[in-house]
């Protein structure tokens, strides 16, 4: 029995007790698999699972509060679910988690860069390559060259919190140390302060304030009442200046400090390619360093900024 069949079977059994199950369906081409609500048994026929299932379905849970929901998760998505459980946004009793072992998802932007493809009619995966048929032309590329960056350094391919685990767990692609080594972070770290300041100024200048980053984030659950477009409190004006745009990213990053599971949806969602995940990765490293804490692992833990220790081992008082 293939994994997908097994998954469908599990959902089929659970569906009568649920309002809906969050999954993915085939999109306008074979490289896209948009999120999908499975309400009826017959909806299951559209369900797909594979490396094109990039969206983190946990982002939807906030909308669905009060409903009994099933959710299909990859390893990284499960961390977001754990975080939402911690923060009591979702109730474990009204959630059924179908965990899928994950070998990585595609970065469509990388595919576009690697292959001159417009409409991917068919996609096949075998032996570490991806074969894409567009029009009457079939081309292939090594999977590792078109997987999302986060997957290349993934340390949590298997969900830690689930009700149904489909198939066998997969081995993490890399060790924890390798997972920590991140060329994008190293590049930013390699800059001096002036360069970094300029880096952000340039990138933020491009921002549209479309809030795709915020709304794709599974943990930015205040989206409708976000500070960024509130008049009371009035943190930000509607002006599209670098100051306001950058300030929003600072708000975003600080609010996620100690909570971000680094699913990368914010950066993936950005239409103009602003590397906003860098700030969150950095803060995650800071949080790890200061509090030895990683978000989305333990559903009973308290995120470090909502608690304290009287004696902080890793915070040294700095004298001027």
């Amino acid at each position: 029995m293939s994994q997908l069949t097994e998954l469908k079977e599990a959902i089929r059994k659970a569906l009568p007790d649920l309002d809906l199950v969050l999954g993915w369906r085939e999109g306008y081409d074979a490289l896209h698999a948009p999120p999908y609500h499975i309400r009826r048994q017959e909806d299951l026929e559209h369900l797909v699972f594979g490396p094109m299932c990039v969206n983190n379905l946990a982002s939807q849970l906030m909308h669905l509060r009060g409903k009994k929901v099933g959710i299909i998760v990859k390893g990284c998505d499960a961390r977001s679910v754990v975080e939402l459980l911690q923060e009591k946004i979702v109730n474990r009793e009204s959630l059924v988690i179908f965990a899928m072992p994950c070998k990585g998802v595609l970065d469509v932007k990388k595919i576009r860069r690697a292959l001159d493809i417009d409409h991917a009619r068919e996609v096949h995966f075998h032996n570490g390559t991806i074969e894409i048929t567009s029009g009457d032309k079939t081309s292939s590329v090594e999977l590792k060259d078109v997987l999302a960056d986060k997957c290349l350094r993934c340390h949590y391919p298997n969900a830690t919190e689930y009700d149904h685990f489909i198939g066998e767990p997969v081995e993490p692609r890399v060790s924890a140390e390798e997972a920590a080594a991140d060329p994008a972070m190293e590049e930013l770290a390699g800059m001096d302060l002036t360069e970094r300041f300029a880096f952000w100024k340039t990138h933020m200048n491009r921002c549209l304030r479309c809030y795709a980053c915020r709304n794709s984030c599974p943990l930015c659950f205040c989206r409708d009442v976000c500070l960024a477009d509130s008049r009371d409190p009035h943190w930000q004006s509607q002006e599209t200046s670098v100051r306001e745009k950058w300030m929003f990213q600072m708000i975003h990053a600080m609010h996620l400090a100690g909570r971000c599971t680094q699913c990368g949806e914010c950066e993936r969602a950005c239409p103009v390619g602003i590397p906003i995940l860098l700030l969150k990765k950095h803060l995650n490293a800071v949080v790890k360093d200061l509090f030895n804490y990683e978000a989305g692992i333990d559903p009973t833990a308290t995120p470090p900024l909502f608690t304290f220790k009287v004696e902080e081992e890793n915070i040294k008082e700095i004298e001027l």
């Binding site: 698999a33 948009p34 609500h37 795709a212 002006e239």
Partner: protein, 357 residues
Amino acid sequence: MMASLFIVSKDIPQWLAAMAKTRKVFATQRESGAIIFKPYDPGREVVFERESVTSCKEAVFPQTKVLFSYFVKKNPETGETAGVAIEESLNKPAPQAVVFGTRPCGTKGFLTFDRVFDCDRIRDPYYTSLRERTAFITLACDRPGATCFCHWVGGAPDDPKGSDALLTPVEGGFLVEAVTEKGEELVNEARSLFAEADEKRREEGAAVRDKAKGMLTPKPDLTDIGPALEKRFRDLDFWEDMTAACVSCNMCTYLCPTCYCFNITDESDGQAGVRLRTWDACMSQQYSLEASGHNPRPTRAHRMRNRVNHKFWYHPKEYGGVISCCGCGRCVKHCPGSVDIRRILLTALERKDEDAE
């Protein structure tokens, strides 16, 4: 239309530089993998190979427009208010502008704007002052993308409507056709860069356009789309299903060449202030939020219904049957959830005979 001219690719920067002497020039440039419209910078490469992520809307309808600034004056002796000084932004004339490298669909977007901001009922000076001063040099598409559907809504990969000049990519350069006098003027300002296009080039150009048209997928008949959407109006389950992937961000509307909604806010310290007009997006919960706290469009399903209906039903109804979607496909291609407006239309059409429960 003036006779076809030809310009070699490497001379494009010179043309841009010539135009930039007296005008503000917006051109497509690449930043971090994304092609966006930015003011022309001779130090940066202008790229054409794909449709830009952002539309050229910013050039005529800037995301932030200061309508005016004001200052509450005081009597220096008493501290009491002694009137308000107002600086009207229209008093500072905008420079002439050129938008270079937009595609036919994007250029046509302003026709929708014109219908709204420059019509018998209303003539919005903030819009028209910029619109009048802006020229569009459009690039015909040689290869429609997977998300393109301009032909569904009355467009074509080489549609010159709204453009002042139209470029067609051919071997080694571009065929250039001025569509308007303004376009002609822009060509004439750097006339030495252009050669008359010979027959062969003209044929090649025609072939490129034909090929592009030939690549378009079959188009549905959208004649009945209004009634079809009307049938689905109360069918919230339909809209729920259609928006399962929507995250309610503003991206589709901000990238859209025809979305013209705006918000007006004052920023003031109590004495000095500015009135800003900024883009707004109907996909945002706040868009329809009323002061009472009531929201007539509380869910993303309601909001998506509005966006689609507006473009394909309300707007045509209001403006002589013209659909206010240009079919550029940006909202599909860049959507974080890959929400496909075409699928919504097709599904609605499919179910046009089915009444909502």
